[in-house]
Symmetry: C2
Subunit: 448 residues, 2 copies
Amino acid sequence: MSQSTLSNLGKKGGKSSAETSAPGHPQVPRAIVVQPERTGRPSRFEKWMARRMLQAIGSPPVALVLWDGDVVCSAAGPPKVSVVIHDRATLLKIAVNPLFNFGEAYSNGQVELEGSLGDLLDAFYSNLPGSRSPGLMAKTENLLEGNSLRGSRLNIHHHYDIGDDFFELWLDPEMQYTCAYYPAPGAGLEEAQLAKMEHVCRKLRLKAGETVVEAGCGWGGLARYMARHYGVTVRAYNISHSQVEYARRRAAQERLDSRVQFIEDDYRNIQGRFDAFVSVGMLEHVGADHYDDLGRVIGRCLQNHGRGLIHSIGQIHAGRPLNPWIRRRIFPGAYPPALSEMVQLLESADFSVLDVENLRLHYAKTLEHWLQRFEASAGAVANMFDERFVRMWRLYLAGSRSSFLAGVLHLFQIVFARPRSNDLPWTRAFLYAAPQAQAGDPCNPAMC
Amino acid sequence: MSQSTLSNLGKKGGKSSAETSAPGHPQVPRAIVVQPERTGRPSRFEKWMARRMLQAIGSPPVALVLWDGDVVCSAAGPPKVSVVIHDRATLLKIAVNPLFNFGEAYSNGQVELEGSLGDLLDAFYSNLPGSRSPGLMAKTENLLEGNSLRGSRLNIHHHYDIGDDFFELWLDPEMQYTCAYYPAPGAGLEEAQLAKMEHVCRKLRLKAGETVVEAGCGWGGLARYMARHYGVTVRAYNISHSQVEYARRRAAQERLDSRVQFIEDDYRNIQGRFDAFVSVGMLEHVGADHYDDLGRVIGRCLQNHGRGLIHSIGQIHAGRPLNPWIRRRIFPGAYPPALSEMVQLLESADFSVLDVENLRLHYAKTLEHWLQRFEASAGAVANMFDERFVRMWRLYLAGSRSSFLAGVLHLFQIVFARPRSNDLPWTRAFLYAAPQAQAGDPCNPAMC
């Protein structure tokens, strides 16, 4: 399938504005009904290539079933999952560019699974060689997806503006589309998303009457939580038009609109000075070329006594791009920073880091819950979009879960302040004190 | 006072081995009784120079009193402290190289204070311009103090082998010469040093029967604590001969020598594989040129499920050398890393950071307690060494306290593991659970 055959996804019904995006921008490909071409038996070369593919990804316990029923396995033990490759062209494409074309083939139905997608992806990520460097192609692609003011708007539009009703099918009621915080592994998604917002507020040590600026506010759930439970006023920035509209609507319904202002603008245009800066799930979309911009913005907008928190997906090794299929089809322009890059961003802006917490297993759990809810609504999603869209999002959610579980991706919450501010909590015990925030009542977190 | 007049410090009594150090290595200068040369009134140029000095350090509320009684102030308000400069030569030396020669002049008694040294240093550090880059001289000096296997041994010998009886005068009974952890600001030093060791053990999630390697173990207090309270066996490395002898003696007295082994060797020679790696207060002596060495050592010696903790003084901006006087007279070869450098060290060795905590106010508090205890023993210290030694150490302790208080120095505890290890605590609440360790009883920390 060549790039030229791709076009915008035609959403069936719903109120998505995805169809309006700019020409030339990466788009979700049109659903394709595959007719496997079973043109003869695989050659010895094709079988050799299939074996090499398995070796190249660390010989996971996976079988490849070729179009004539031949099975190719790695020597590492009985396979957990079989990947049925329906035709010769698909095998060749995956061999040439496995990280991208496996996603394409899975989405198109050119490969199918016997066994669970989760098991396949867990096997893949947990067997990946540790220190593989990114290929040249991946680096080049990164340059094409810039995060200029206009590029960011297009990139964000691509993912977040495909329809609130779609996200409502499988997110929690507060529409938190970032890693939750599970007080215990058995907690539910709704409880864990509320606990995440509470954890963030406590780390920021918000006090009633303070002002908060939020960079990248999603559907506004955290902004509303901060205003409702901590009595602060919030200026929240977002470049997703449909998210800002949704956030304004809900704030008005919940009578929080006098204390929460949603601004459809880029983080680079943040104006004013605030007691706290918070950004949950935006840094992944900033791009390493713009970390200095973000550092300058935070330096400009935070009061001398101010506190800041950045919550972002991260990785171990700086400079490795996200999986190319995810970057092309799901998150154009996205890059997960290494923690050292996040810390450098703050050091360059003369901030001192107070606290870092790695919550990667919480993101794996969050994705597990999202995936369950997504599957429960798969029929509705197929009706909204098509089967191909369902397969793409299933692969993205399951692949992300496996990446966090295998330590390929991480989730860092990082708290910072100006180095001379001595308005610091004495220990972190207050983060773990019994809950104090009551619905509707502005209150202070337990401070020492 | 020229460099050539400096020679070894002759300790009066005690069992120091400082006199045995290698020729050519930086040494504590001989005590000098100063006879102020009051050679005429200060010139207009000298007064201008005194004013410029105050401006150059950010115009703190400090007065300079020249040798004829003339007072030079910055315009920033009434002075909190007056610095009496006894002679023209001292003014010139301080003007030429203030960061180094103020320390020399204070130690020699060529300057004296009206007011508190702590107030002077607080005023200095809290007025320092934020982003001053280090001078060329400082960089050159850094190169002269290498941390090769031999250089490290000399550097460590210089500071830590000057006599256990001296450190016993003002450290806690467990001889913890690193930042304590105060459960509350009013806690005492002894309680806070025990709490520090408990905090470190909990962060490492030690379990009875496990093995721990410690890099840079001081007088062995943490190694003994881990063995006693957590039932682990410890291999502890240190290149300070007198510290290792002391540590072995105490472990034998406390019948812990079957579970704690002290090895007089460099961290680069650590052998074996362990469940946990810990290093408290050594990274400051490793030097940035050797972070990769340390990363390789940790990568080699930690089991796949292992946990690690590094506790180190740090700073905001990478590459800035320690105050040159401290580096010359107190800690040759020392360099406080930026947090980004600590994180890079671990990322390069393919470790993932799980937790970072900045404890700089705890170090300011620790130094406050050390300083009080040091002052209470100043007479005994003067008898052991001389008055000049007392002034040098007073300046070092008070200057360090002010640096932590002003956010010039930081204290980072960083917890890490291999990225694929999913043997992780679910939250950090267990760190703040009620104490479980009982003296003499091996036990596990509260785990979730």
